[in-house]
């Protein structure tokens, strides 16, 4: 069977179950294509030999009742994988080999999937372009020298470039949805507490969530079904009734009320984005849903709030990297000198910047003015959504204020880089689920995404809306394989 790597996850699962394809054939196909795609720099660590062994073993005694039978899958290098190096895109974890497995990846392997390797990302998931990775830039399969977005840039590039049928990323302020939007793929950030954070390298613990990144909504729903479980090992994991997201998926969204928040029409937003949004509004109406104008008055305060809360939590989480227990250690004249040099040489510039911001806003005399203030504004932002959800079932917005930009274009201006996440950050602050789906192209032919935000634990509803819209939009990603010689 030709063009294995062009098949969706759902197609591959069916073909393996019908014994039209073996796990070995599928795994080999994705390894071959990954080998030819080194220029994308999507992988940090390849685990191909071991993947092939596992595929052969699967084929000897295939368990076809599993949800991901013999499916090869590369994952973001922020998930701890037992006995496979896990770097978080950082020099400081360059030699770290976990002795345990994250719950999310464990769930995936239990359903029969096979690890292909670990995918590039911004260092400690801090970035919106994958340019802060210690392991270098990732190329966007859409065009040469275009960023894939971030922080899950390697994941987005690998799915769009068909190096893996599907993948997982993490999303603290937009790190799944923004790269999905930049690469013409589907990315879901689940409700906070839906997927366990156990074994995920921590960035900002009150915001971090793992989620699927896929070629289409159905694949995305299937992986969400696998990764979302209650986990006693994560004290913020929530024990709620989870749907069979892929089985319950429907394009019937008649009568659903969809909110259109006026505050997302920001100054300087390109006309293309506004036009895309209007197109999206028409699509949901065509599907029989009703749109309602709503207000989320504190939207413009979300980014400043995020840039206090996230660095504060990061500065605390990253205190553990001291060169003593694991990871990189620099030489120092004494213990303190060793700490300071380890952290100065081991962390990249963006991570150091955020640790410093976080340390400052938590320091004596500034805690009330910054950190406490931000937590109060965070409450106002959440209240906005609570109020809106009295009137609507979901909210439709653009995913990002622009399409993908060139490598190097925004690296010298941290604030302009942060503005990328203007539409995604409020969702994390309120702990809600959000999905980005490809919805069109800009004048350069680069993909643009629309975001559907749901009520807490209402993943099924936003997946259904995305599924219905996907059918109407009929998006085709323009991948020319430019990087394959």
């Amino acid at each position: 069977m030709s063009d294995i790597t062009k098949q969706s996850l759902t197609e591959l699962v069916v073909n393996i179950k019908d014994k039209k394809l073996s796990s070995t054939e599928v795994t080999k196909a994705f390894i071959d294509r990954s080998e030819k795609s080194k220029e994308l720099n999507a992988y940090i660590t390849e685990d191909f030999t071991s993947a092939l062994d596992k595929a052969k073993k699967f084929d000897q005694k295939p368990n076809l009742d599993l949800k991901l039978p013999g499916i090869p899958m590369a994952v973001k290098d922020l998930f701890c994988t037992k006995d496979v190096k896990t770097t978080a895109g950082s020099k400081i974890l360059n030699n770290f080999v976990p002795t345990y497995e994250s719950t999310v990846t464990d769930n995936i392997w239990r359903e029969g999937a096979i690890l292909l390797g670990k995918l590039n990302c911004d260092e400690f998931a801090m970035g919106s372009s994958n340019e802060t990775s210690f392991f270098g830039n990732v190329q966007n399969p859409i065009d040469k020298d275009l960023v894939p977005g971030g922080s899950s840039g390697g994941s987005a590039s690998a799915v769009a470039g068909q190096l893996t049928p599907i993948t997982i990323g993490t999303d603290t302020g937009g790190s799944i949805r923004q790269p999905a939007s930049f690469t013409g793929t589907v990315g879901l950030k689940p409700t906070y507490g839906s997927c366990s954070r156990y074994g995920i390298v921590a960035f900002a613990s009150s915001l971090d969530q793992a989620g699927p990144m896929a070629q289409n909504v159905k694949d995305c729903a299937l992986l969400q079904e696998v990764i979302s479980t209650y986990d006693p090992k994560d004290s913020t994991s929530i024990d709620f009734k989870r749907n069979q997201y892929s089985k319950e998926l429907t394009n019937n969204i008649k009568g659903k009320k969809i909110g259109i928040p006026k505050e997302y029409r920001v100054d300087g937003m390109p006309k293309e984005i506004e036009d895309l949004w209007q197109k999206g509004i028409q699509f949901v109406k065509d599907c029989g849903a009703e749109t309602i104008d709503i207000s989320l008055p504190h939207t413009s305060y979300a980014l400043p709030t995020y840039y206090i809360v996230a660095p504060a939590e990061a500065s605390s989480n990253l205190a553990r990297y001291d060169g003593v227990k694991y990871g990189f250690r620099a030489k120092g004249e004494n213990l303190i000198d060793m700490y300071e040099k380890t952290r100065s040489e081991g962390f990249g510039a963006e991570v150091q910047r955020r640790i410093m911001i976080g340390t400052y806003v938590l320091s004596s005399g500034y805690y009330d003015a910054y950190y406490l203030k931000a937590q109060k504004v965070r409450k106002l932002i959440k209240n906005d959504f609570d109020e809106a959800y009295k009137k609507v079932d979901a909210i439709l917005t653009p995913s990002t204020p622009s399409s993908a930009f060139k490598i190097g274009e925004k690296t010298n201006d941290p604030v302009s880089m942060y503005l990328n996440d203007i539409f995604t950050v409020p969702v994390n602050l309120a702990g809600l689920p959000g999905i980005s789906i490809p919805a069109g192209h800009d004048s350069k032919g680069y993909p643009l995404g629309l975001q559907i935000i749901g009520k807490a634990f209402d993943e099924q509803n936003i997946l259904n809306i995305a599924f219905a819209m996907e059918e109407k939009i009929n998006f085709k990603n323009k991948i020319t394989d430019w990087w394959i010689k």
Binding site: G193, I238, Y307, V324, Y326, R378
Partner: protein
């Protein structure tokens, strides 16, 4: 508000990240532009607002106090940059 070099040195000490003059100046510039952006929050009156500390509105579950991870000494020490007989080794702290 302006963050001066003295403040940068102070934060770098608290963060345990060594910073030379050149890096301190760059950081001061970056942090000032970020804090200018953050100042926007002061437009809002929040005196009577409860701070949001967690979006997950659940109470923590209780569980039996049982040891689950046993005999993992080797695993714990496995990734250490320097160790000796089950101890992490660090530069000398006592003269």
């Amino acid at each position: 508000m302006s963050i001066d070099l003295k403040t940068i040195k102070h934060i770098s000490k608290l963060s345990r990240i060594s910073v030379d003059e050149k890096k301190a100046e760059k950081l001061a510039g970056d942090l000032n532009s970020i804090f200018d952006f953050i100042e926007k929050l002061n437009e809002l009156k929040t005196d009577n607002v409860e701070p949001l500390t967690s979006v997950a509105e659940t109470t923590l579950k209780l569980r039996p106090d049982e040891v689950k991870s046993k005999d993992i000494r080797e695993q714990i020490i496995k990734n250490s940059p320097q160790d000796n007989e089950d101890y992490f080794v660090v530069p000398k702290v006592i003269e």
